[in-house]
């Protein structure tokens, strides 16, 4: 009897302990930090307890029957051959159906609720999923950034999600999600794009990011803070390293952040290592990267591309390479030396830079606050 009981109580206890004992989890759907994540959580919790109750009843009956009706010595003969009971069958068909109907009603209302475009003072952001990093474009604010999604607290953030690829062609990937399925010619940059999924559990559930279509979702943070997220749909070699953070600011701080991001980067003074770095970047890196404020010797702007992350305010971000690496000099050097060896499958190739060139680039990148 004990063993049968253990068999059921064991996994149950484990699950309960587990729920309490991962306090360091920072990507925790059980700790919603905004109204949209709370909607999903508010459905999950009661359903979980209903399921737990059913679990106890059913497993309890199982354990009880298996104990009570075990064969005991001296009890010979064959038990009465009961074939069934139609009333019971009807009862245990209807009762679960009713319970499920009860679960279905709030489920359906929440489905429609979450699918609605939010009203009021909404912040619009386009989320573009690349292999293997996230691009964030704010159409109304006119800024483009990567790896960190900055939002104000207390405002709904309406996201358009689209997948973008990078071929070896030197195309400019659009930093804008089309509102609907593409009409007419499809951007060639779709040719190498794969499915991703945008997930920051403390702020919202996922929606997939699918080439050729634009999905939408809403999230909102109640309080300032940093919330981590990552790609949830298997997307190739470095799927595990396609991460991002959502940085929630008070509205004032957010406005300040936007203003900072709008400002172009200043060119470093001539003759400095940073200036040399800017020259290297202008020569090689603008095939995929863009820096607002990069100028050639005549002071004319050098246009880049947004196949890769926009670097204008690179040093203002705490992580890079799809948030695989913390932004610091050591990591930057490792990365610039040979990106594919750091991140499997990286589209950024090894440019065989000399250590001196790397130092100059690091110096320049550090000026891009």
């Amino acid at each position: 009897m004990r063993r049968e009981t253990l068999k059921v109580l064991g996994p149950l206890a484990l699950t309960l302990i587990a729920a309490a004992c991962a306090p360091n989890a920072t990507q925790d759907s059980l700790r919603p930090a905004g109204p949209y994540a709370e909607k999903a959580h508010d459905l999950f919790v009661p359903v979980f307890w209903v399921a737990a109750a059913i679990f106890f009843v059913v497993e309890g009956l199982l354990v009880f029957f298996v104990w009570k009706y075990r064969h005991r010595k001296g009890r010979e003969g064959i038990p009465p051959q009961v074939h069934g009971n139609t009333r019971l069958e009807i009862a245990w068909t209807i009762l679960p159906a009713l319970i499920l109907a009860g679960v279905a009603v709030p489920t359906v209302t929440t489905i429609f609720d979450l699918a609605r475009e939010p009203e009021g003072d909404v912040l619009n952001v386009d989320v573009l999923g690349h292999q293997w990093w996230w691009e964030f474009a704010y159409p109304q604010e006119g800024i483009v950034t990567a790896n960190e999604l900055h939002i104000p607290t207390g405002r709904p953030v309406y996201l358009r999600l689209c997948a973008v690829g990078l071929g070896y062609q030197q195309q400019v990937a659009p930093s804008e999600c089309q509102p609907g399925p593409p009409e007419g010619a499809v951007p060639a940059s779709l040719g190498d794009s794969v499915i991703h999924s945008f997930w920051v559990p403390e702020l919202a559930g996922t929606q997939d990011v699918i080439p050729g279509r634009t999905n939408t979702m809403v999230l909102q943070a109640d309080d300032p803070g940093t919330y981590t997220g990552q790609c949830k749909e298997f997307c190739g070699l470095s799927h595990a390293f396609m991460k991002f953070t959502v940085v929630a600011h008070t509205p004032e701080d957010f406005d300040a952040w936007v203003a900072g991001q709008r400002a172009p980067a200043a060119m470093p003074p001539g003759g400095t290592p940073a200036a040399a770095g800017a020259e290297i970047l202008a020569g090689q890196c603008i095939a995929c990267h863009a820096i607002n404020g990069l100028q050639d010797a005549n002071g004319d702007p050098i246009l880049g591309s947004n196949n890769g992350p926009d670097l204008t305010h690179f040093a203002s971000r705490e992580c890079f390479a799809g948030c695989m690496l913390e932004t610091n000099d050591e990591n930057l050097r490792r990365w610039l030396d040979d990106p594919p060896s750091v991140k499997a499958g990286s589209w950024m190739p090894d440019y065989n830079l000399t250590p001196e060139q790397i130092d100059q680039l690091v110096a320049y990148l550090n000026t891009l606050r």
Binding site: E4, K7, P11, L14, T15, A18, C21, A22, N24, A25, T26, L30, H41, L43, F44, V47, A51, F55, V58, E59, F65, Y69, R70, R75, I78, P79, Q81, V82, H83, G84, N85, W92, P96, A97, L100, A104, T107, T110, I111, F112, V186, G191, V194, I195, S197, P201, G205, D208, P211, G212, R213, N215, T216, T228, Q230, C231, E233, F234, A240, G345
Partner: protein, 620 residues
């Protein structure tokens, strides 16, 4: 079943039919469903070891954060092959092993409807599995997940997903052909008196599974062909740059993929429905309701597929429809569970190893089923999908469910197949080890998923706070491995015992126990005449006025008249053409990758094999 054809031609050379039914070579030419069942079982078990090893490597890599024991590229191959192996090369063929061995015996037939086609199915399965695995040595194994989502699977530059598409097409042919064969067998070859509602539940579940296979496999066949063509010939089925829709792949895959999970679980449910009554000494509670709920699950199973796609943006109406249909399918599933409980109620339960696995099945499947219901709560699924919470769910139903059920069936029918018992003490140790290991491995995954761990990631950082439960899960995986080792030792030891087994060592209920253990090559000396559900039980026991059950004296009223088969028994003879014909399939497969001349060779072998098959004389 006898085959009578036109007077045979003088057998010429190539068309001379083999005759041996014993010896090593006879395994290659056998058309005996019992031998084919054993072949399926052994092969599937070998793949189980391989797939399990892949799992252990995955768990080693994930035991600690930020590890690089296994590179991302290899890791992607490992989890892809683990999924493909367990679904297509383990659970499906293990179920096929049971179906092949038991269906004719349980319905009182001498073999399946088309014995050579049956052999063909086995060889095609084996060659398909070998074909997929040969990819490790020929440019890289499949690495796009067992679900192979496009465009990633199309764009991957290695050959891996091409091997995936072709390999699954080959195994799909094997399964489709087998499904038709077994469905016709069940529908058309039952012993006299065995009406549909006197068939064992295992046979009913078998029928539903064959029909699910016959109607779902063509859909994935089309999907796989489209994937193969996109990769190999530059078509645009899933190419967004040409206006194609990656979701087309998902719809085709899951229209198959969802019925597939019922294909995976219904056989084990059938097994449990046979084991519980025998060791509770009572009939299955609510037989018709268990049968109808199985049929209902089969039907509704075709209507829930997009619950794997809740987060792709189909819209609230579609998500609602599929969320509701998914909740609906929980109802017949619950009906089965309650009827199993009813079978135990007021029984006289003996805890043999098969019974332990059957009860363990119910306990674990309930957990998996309940987590499944939470997935149907669509907005909550937006959090759960693609995390380890889902991994926990399907391992509870596929391992705690299907694998436990199949192990139970293995212990239960081992004496019938091999004429020896598996040692009961080893069996109990094996069961408890497996149960503990299984729960340690997969229980924590519920937590890991809800607290931020996505699927299919090669590593995770320390900062996510998920280290402890990942380590526990890895330990659990190794405990499972230990339990499988225990099983292997027990199996080997059983063959040291002499082959002396009675026809009915468990005091069971169904027709396979009416013949010797193992059965003679012709299954039954006389085809039985069936008068009731649980025919064998009723031949042994009768109910008195007071509801008491008393043994029937031997040779008493149970035996009813002589069935067909009182005359000479004709059996289908062995043949090597099924093997030859099926060999053509992987050759064509390699040809699609390496050169058209090889395709031509494969077609010649296949067509040649088929013509030999058609032209060879039927053996008497």
């Amino acid at each position: 079943m006898a085959s009578v054809s036109v007077p045979a031609e003088r057998p010429r050379g190539l068309l001379r039919r083999p005759t041996a039914i014993t010896g090593l070579w006879s395994w290659f030419t056998t058309v005996d469903h019992k031998k084919i069942g054993i072949l399926y079982g052994v092969t599937a078990f070998a793949f189980f070891i391989v797939g399990g090893t892949e799992a252990l490597l995955i768990r080693l890599q994930l035991a600690q954060p930020d590890q690089n024991l296994i590179s991302p590229g290899v890791y992607n191959e490992l989890f892809t092959m683990h999924g493909i192996t367990m679904v297509f090369l383990v659970v499906m063929p293990l179920s096929a092993a049971f179906f092949n061995f038991l269906i004719p015996l349980m319905i009182g037939a001498r073999d399946v409807a088309f014995p050579r086609l049956n052999a063909f199915s086995y060889w095609a399965f084996l060659f398909g599995g070998i074909f997929i695995y040969s990819s490790w040595f020929l440019g890289g194994a499949p690495n796009g997940g067992w679900f192979g989502y496009a465009p990633n699977s199309v764009l991957d530059p290695t050959r891996g997903m091409t091997f995936y598409a072709i390999g699954l097409l080959i195994t799909g042919i094997a399964s489709t052909v087998s499904a038709i064969n077994l469905a016709v067998t069940i529908i058309n070859m039952r012993a006299p008196g065995m009406t549909l509602f006197r068939m064992p539940v295992f046979i009913w579940m078998g029928l539903v599974v064959q029909l699910l296979l016959a109607f779902s496999l063509p859909i994935i066949t089309v999907g796989l062909v489209e994937l193969l063509f996109d990769k190999r010939f530059g078509t645009h089925f899933f190419d967004p740059a040409a206006g194609g829709d990656p979701l087309l792949w998902q719809h085709l895959f899951w229209l198959f993929g969802h019925p597939e999970v019922y294909i995976l679980i219904l056989p084990a449910m059938g097994i449990v429905s046979e084991i519980l009554p025998v060791f509770a000494r009572k009939p299955l509670f609510g037989y018709q309701f268990v049968v109808f709920s199985g049929i209902a699950i089969g039907f509704i199973g075709f209507g829930v597929w997009a619950h794997h796609m809740f987060a792709v943006g189909l819209g609230p109406v579609a998500n609602t429809a599929f969320g509701v249909s998914t909740m609906i399918i929980a109802v017949p599933t619950g009906v089965k569970i309650f009827n199993w409980l009813g079978t135990l109620w007021r029984g006289d339960i003996r805890f043999t190893t098969p019974m332990l696995f059957a009860v363990g099945f119910i306990a674990m499947f309930v957990i998996g089923g309940l987590s499944g219901v939470t997935h149907a709560v669509v907005p909550s699924d937006y959090q759960q999908t693609d995390t380890y919470y889902i991994v926990a769910h399907f391992h509870y139903v596929l391992f705690g469910g299907a694998i436990f059920g199949l192990f139970g069936g293995t212990y239960y029918w081992w004496p019938k197949v091999f004429g020896r018992m598996l040692d009961e003490r080893w069996g109990k140790v094996q069961f408890w080890t497996m149960l503990v290991g299984f729960n340690l491995a997969f229980g924590p995954m519920h937590v890991l998923g809800l607290q931020g761990m996505p699927r299919r990631i090669q590593s995770y950082p320390e900062s996510l706070g998920l280290t402890f439960w990942n380590l526990v899960s890895t330990i659990g995986a190794f405990v499972i491995a230990l339990s499988v080792l225990l099983f292997i030792v027990s199996a080997v030891r059983s063959f040291r015992r002499p082959r002396e087994m009675s026809a009915d060592p468990w005091d069971a209920r169904t027709l396979e126990w009416a013949t010797s253990s193992p059965p003679p090559v012709h299954n039954f000396d006389e085809i039985p005449v069936v008068h009731a559900l649980d025919e064998v039980w009723h031949r042994k026991y009768a109910e008195t006025e007071g509801g008491r059950v008393v043994p029937v004296p031997a040779g008493g009223s149970g035996e009813g008249g002589r069935g067909a088969g009182a005359h000479a028994i004709h059996l289908p003879g062995p043949s090597y053409y099924p093997l030859v014909a099926s060999l053509g399939l992987p050759i064509v497969g390699y040809g699609l990758i390496f050169g058209w001349w090889l395709v031509a060779v494969g077609l010649v072998v296949m067509v040649g094999g088929l013509y030999g098959w058609v032209l060879e004389p039927s053996a008497e």
